[in-house]
Each structure stands twice: as structure tokens, then as C-alpha cells.
Symmetry: C2
Subunit: 306 residues, 2 copies
Amino acid sequence: MTLTELRYIVAVARERHFGRAAASCFVSQPTLSVAVKKLEDELGVTLFERSAGDVSLTSTGERVVEQAQRVLEEVQVVKQLAEQGKDPLAGPLRLGIIYTISPYLLPCLIPALRDKAPQMQLLLEENYTGRLAEMLKQGEIDVAIVAEPFFETGVSTLQLYDEPFVVATPKGHPWEKLKAIDANQLAEENVLLLSPGNCFRDHVLQTCPDLNRESLPAGSLQRTLQGSSLTTIRHMVAGGIGVTVLPITSITAADDALLSIRPFAGETPTRRVILAWRKNFPRTGAVEAIRQAVLASGLAGVSFLG
Amino acid sequence: MTLTELRYIVAVARERHFGRAAASCFVSQPTLSVAVKKLEDELGVTLFERSAGDVSLTSTGERVVEQAQRVLEEVQVVKQLAEQGKDPLAGPLRLGIIYTISPYLLPCLIPALRDKAPQMQLLLEENYTGRLAEMLKQGEIDVAIVAEPFFETGVSTLQLYDEPFVVATPKGHPWEKLKAIDANQLAEENVLLLSPGNCFRDHVLQTCPDLNRESLPAGSLQRTLQGSSLTTIRHMVAGGIGVTVLPITSITAADDALLSIRPFAGETPTRRVILAWRKNFPRTGAVEAIRQAVLASGLAGVSFLG
DNA sequence: TGCGACATTCGGTATAATCGATTTTTGCCG
DNA sequence: CGGCAAAAATCGATTATACCGAATGTCGCA
């Protein structure tokens, strides 16, 4: 049984005439006649009563033709679904973002994306880099915004922007008088870090390797005061518990009252934020739209890599 | 788009592996691979994300495959309908019968048919021969039981039985003493006839051509007392208005009290009852079942022609 | 008994489906 | 970094199918 055969019998039922049915299917009359016979043989039933005068349906034929029409309608739906799926900007996109970017980028990104791809609704997933990588490869998310380093097989990436780090101290801290902070100075203070799993914690430790030394006493503040989020850490710093390193996009106007922000001395440590997606993810248009939206989002203080 | 292609993508979605999907479709892996690609090209969308590890569905792919399954289910229904239609004894059969046979044959025929073809429900149409012929050719009925003469192009017939005619008079009528009635005698009496259109009226007129003579006065009883049915005529005869000719199958035990029934003298006039159906009507099994049922019905007084 | 209208059958041909073998891709691992 | 293994894509050849035009068969009709 083929869809063509079903189309033929529907045409014959409609036209009640093999010749006209053939014409309406743009095939020769013998072609249609043979195809109908073949289908009748396959089904083992006579669908049409042929006679010189006119063609009429058997009762089985009526039912079969009606059902054939239903099949053809469902086929049309397949085509419609495919048509709808053609636009890479249409339909939901599952986007994963790490915790230290999400709250600062999304408020800028979402309006920009609404502008570029209004049909594409975002399903957001906030998580650690490692978990996002896993979800990406499992197909649980389509695209991820993470920070380097990020190497995963089967995953393509694209640079988005480089984000400088800054030092945050409580108001009135002695470092307030300094114009810039040397990375090596940090070890002198209680440096509040995110909990393990956050890649930004690793970035900070990389910036100031001294913080990582195992010689720190077991109960030291660096160990115990690990914040669960940058916001928590920010409040702890404001409370005078210590200092911290923040990505510049996380600095808001409200911080002015609570914190003192200072740049690093010498080469500014940064992290590189990238876009990642499965190499085989077909909606490249959607990926590009995300990239464009990030570049157009106007995040303060970062150098875009578009 | 072909049904085969749809089966292939459903298999790939099920197996999540081109090779296994190909095996489950009993085709080679390249065959399935190119078929899927062809469908993707035709639809203009990517349905599967291929990678070394595993195959996964795009969101469009998920929708399309689901719809493809629906198509295949509907195709299965086509096959089921055809399967049901295979038995010629299954499903309704539209049977037409003339007025002068229907009330006497059906009570015998229907039980016999229930026995032979319990799955076949009869849709009955009672009408004149001419109308039944028309309906038969139009496909409004499938089979007809009529009396000869019956010649219609495109219609096949089969003899069922020959039915003798008898003369019915009121109780106490002088002819009651006669053993048999000569056809020519009828013209001496008021002979009650069915209204025109009933073939049995023509049979009676043919049996006794004298009744047909145009010399009858305009208001004569033969003209005015045309019964609408054999039952009506029977009651009129019982009421003493005249005599009539009846087919023998219409005689019931109840008639004994009201009427006097006499055979014809000489060659008994009869009518031949036949089965008729469109030459192209495919359910020959159903036609044969009807014939068998009539022959098995045990109608009194007729000679079967099986 | 031809005639017309139509369905069916018949050869021949172009297209498509399919296969086995091969190549390419890709992740993986020493 | 280079070979290995797995899987999909590609290739070349073969087979099957769809289709056409022409011829043939069927049937009702005049």
C-alpha cells in the first residue's frame, strides 16, 4: 500500500470515473487503473464496481476510501509540522547558564532576544558548568552559556565576551585607599569563595594561587565561609567578614552603598564567556540569534568578541 | 513522502540507532539512511541529530515522528476495514423485493438467511419491479427479488422458483362447485386487479387477455376496484365484490374461512421469480447465500429451480 | 452488428529502491 | 598524537517499480 495508491482511490471515489480521476492525479488512465487494481489485490477486496456507465463504490470501498482520506489528512499534518519546524527561531529553545552569569546576563539578554527572535521561547536551566555539559550532551538542553575552560567532545563553542574580575571589600576597608589591588595581596585577607562546582571559584583560585595552599589551618575562614551565591558573598563582604573577587557584570549600582570595588593591578584577570551547543544541533540559526542577542545586550564593562 | 519512509523514521526514533532500525525494518543500513535523508530533504527539516554515540530526535523530529505514527495507525485501520470487508456475507446487504412477493417470502426467507449468513443484516426495500430495477442500477440496492419478465442491461439474474396462480372467489360463489377454473371464464366476473405498476397485474392480464379489452365501460368494476395490495383485494373478494387471481404463496390458512380457492384448468399459469443483481456487484457470495436461503425457505406450492 | 466510451493489458523505458562495499566522521584510548 | 572502533554517509551496480502510449477487451447502445 502506498500513499499514491490511496490518493488514486480517493480521486476515483471523488470523480466516479477512472479517466477523470487519472487526469486529476496527473497520470495516465492505465497508470491509475493498474494502481487501483494493485491496491484492491493487496487488500483482497473490490473497492469499486466498474461498469461502462459509471463507477460506484462498494460498501467496503466507501469505508476504505473514507479511511484513506483520513490517512492523507494525517500526512498533511506531517507536512505542516515540518513546515512549522523549518524556522530555527520558532519553537522553544532550552538554554543552560551557569549560576555566576545567569542573574546578570539574563535581564539584558531576554529583551534583546525577544527583539531578535520573538517566536522563540526560552526554557532556562541554571546549573554548574559540569552539569550543563552533561545535559547538553544528553540533549536535555540545546545551548549553554558557560565560561572557559570548556572542552567537550561533540560540542561546538563560540566566544561571547571577556569579563574582567574586580576586588570587592567592605566600605572603610584599608584597601579602599589603593587604586588597584595586586592579586598576590588577596591571600592576606579572608577571601570569600563560592562553593566548589562553581567555575568562578576556580577562576579566582587560578588568579590567586596562594589561596589554594593546603597549609591553611583547617578551621580558617576561607574554608568555612564559602558563599552559595555571589549575592550571599556580597552581603558577607558588606558585613565585614572579608573580601572577595567578583565578575564585573555582577556589579550593580546598589553595590556602591555597601561595597568598595577596586580593579586588579597589572594584567586584569578575566574569564571568557562562551556559547556552547551540540555539534549536530540543527538550529544553528537559533544559536546565532543567542549570540547576536548577547552582543547586543550591552553588558557593562565587558569586551565583546563578536 | 512514502509510507516506507515514515516507517523508517519511526523505527529510528524507536531504536535510536540507524543500524538497528534498519535491521528492524529488514533493510540495509544505507537504504534506511538515504531514505531518512530523502524525507528530511523533502520536509526541509532535520529530524534526527546524528552523532557517533547515539541518535536523538530534534523537537521537530519528535512531533513529526509522533504524527508519522498516527499516519501508520490510520493505515492499519485501512487494512482492518479491508479485512472486515473480505467476507461477502458480512456487512449489510440491500435487498429489494416486489410487493406481491415480499410479505409471503420474507417470513420464510429471513430465518433461512439468518441461518446461512448470520453476519449479514438485510436492509429491505419493497417496491415495484420498475423502481427496483432503477434502484439496482443506481446502486441504491444490491440485490432484488422480482418476477420475470425482467431484462436490464448490466444486471445478472438467476431463477429462483415458478409460482402457480390460483383463482379466489367469495365463499358460496357458484365456481365453488367447479374443480378448476378456465382462464377464459374470468372475464365473466368482476376480476379485481392490483393497481398498475404491479407486475402481478400484468401477469393476470396476460393470463386472461380478455380482461384487458378496451370495450369495458368506463365505470366498470374492473376499472374502479383496483386493490392497492393483495390483502386488500382478498378482503374485497371475501366481501363478495368479485373474484381475483392470486399467486399461490400468498394463500394462508386464514384464507380458508373467507375465500374459496380454485386452481386453473389446463396449463397452470405461473410467474417465474428471479434474483437480480448488478453484473459487477462483487459480493457474489452474498447473492448465492440469498438464493440458497430462498431454496431452503420451503415456500408452499412452488417448484424450485435450484 | 458496428460504434463509442471506458477499463484493462502489454512492451518498453525512466526512475527509484535497494544492496554490498567503501569512505568518512567522530569519539576514544593508549 | 595517531591508531582503533563504531556508526552514518557515500558509491556503484542491480533490481524493482511507476509510468506511458498503444493495443486490446468489455459493455451498453443505436
